[in-house]
Symmetry: C2
Subunit: 205 residues, 2 copies
DNA sequence: ACAGGCGGCTAATTCGAATTAGCCAAAGTA
DNA sequence: TACTTTGGCTAATTCGAATTAGCCGCCTGT
């Protein structure tokens, strides 16, 4: 990988572990395997590295959103899929989301960095809320809404149902970020959560 | 208030807004109304101020835990209270917890500070998990468990039921910490959540 | 009255971290 | 070939923030 990208990568790792202010330009350089002054051949200053990370995230996000939309409209037409939503599939959905967010290297680091930096500016707070509050709720509402329309879940308030699905996942996710040793416990709880969710919302009225 | 305490108070405010590393000793001194070097008459160094905040929290916590235990054992004997747990009372419980944690000046600032600092040490991570994960779950499990025993809520897994009650509250709480403007929305969602929770777990089998 | 300590201040010190200056070799390119 | 860009390095600079030195007035107890 070329140096310019490696800098972003190593910087993100460090920022996610210690926060922007506790990372020295020299730390980043060390990890990349160059000396601190050489960093300035690639970025104007330390802040520019941080900004570039945010920019990169915006790009990644834009791409992801695009593919999501495509899936979304495809899925809307094809409502057959949702007619046999079983407990197993709900479990798979929840686990997949949880494990992807938890372990995907980029997601994990970016989320932890944002957690640390979220109070430093409105912009960062907005990004956090978008990525970990509003977008997941919107996406999962769409999904669970389809399942409900197909008659496999029952509610008169899809948004609250989605909150009941997602909030425990978020809760367990932030717990594992803080304390990775609790992942097994979290996975167990996640499964129990989704089974119970399915019992609560899935049974025929 | 004497200076020594005012220092802790103002430091906590600043740490909760910007994080330890972004706060200068001079900032704290300014707010207290003294010069930076005078701070050293009260604390050995900047880190000692942070540690004193943690110590103070431990003390407060110990007291609170004590009073909780007393209430707990009192309540255990007196199970009559839980026999007429209505939707209104559940709403009151949830709102009370949410608003207290959200607005209580000490809680709010301490929680935000921990949010920022949680990845810097195992100790801080443990404190966070204890205060905002394990203790609330344990306490509310105890409470909801009583209500279930009194026959007003139905579940075969109190812990998951408690997770379903608490996780959305936690989710909304962290959202409001990040973006206080969303509090009205959060309060509305909170009410809907609890009403739905009551419908899901409260109805007779 | 006065000795001591508390808590404030200004001025000085230290020190670490970001950044800049200026050199150089390799690689590309007219 | 000779010129330029690129990206690395060491040494120097700058600067800001934590901390220390040393002074002083005030209260308190004798």
């Amino acid at each position: 990988m070329d140096t310019k990208k490696r800098i972003l990568d190593e910087a993100l790792t460090l920022f996610s572990e210690k926060g922007y202010a506790n990372v020295f330009v020299g730390d980043i350089a060390d990890r990349v395997g160059i000396k601190a002054p050489s960093l300035y051949k690639h970025y104007k200053n330390k802040r520019a590295i941080f900004d570039a990370i945010i920019d990169e995230m915006n790009q990644r996000f834009a791409e992801q959103a695009k593919s999501m939309n495509i899936n979304g409209t495809d899925a809307q037409k094809d409502s057959e899929i949702y007619k046999n939503m079983s407990e197993e599939k709900l479990l798979a959905l929840g686990r997949q989301f949880f494990l992807y967010y938890l372990h995907d290297d980029y997601n994990k680091r970016f989320r932890k960095m944002l957690t640390i930096e979220q109070f430093n500016s409105k912009d960062l707070a907005d990004i956090y809320s978008k990525l970990y509050v509003d977008d997941p709720l919107a996406y999962q509402s769409m999904l669970l809404g389809m399942v409900a329309q197909a008659g496999m879940l029952h509610t008169d308030n899809v948004n609250i149902m989605t909150l009941h699905f997602y909030a425990p996942i978020y809760f367990l996710l932030t717990m594992c970020d803080r304390d990775p040793e609790r992942e097994p416990e979290a996975l167990k709880t996640l499964d129990e959560h989704i089974k119970q969710f399915n019992r609560l919302y899935g049974r025929t009225k």
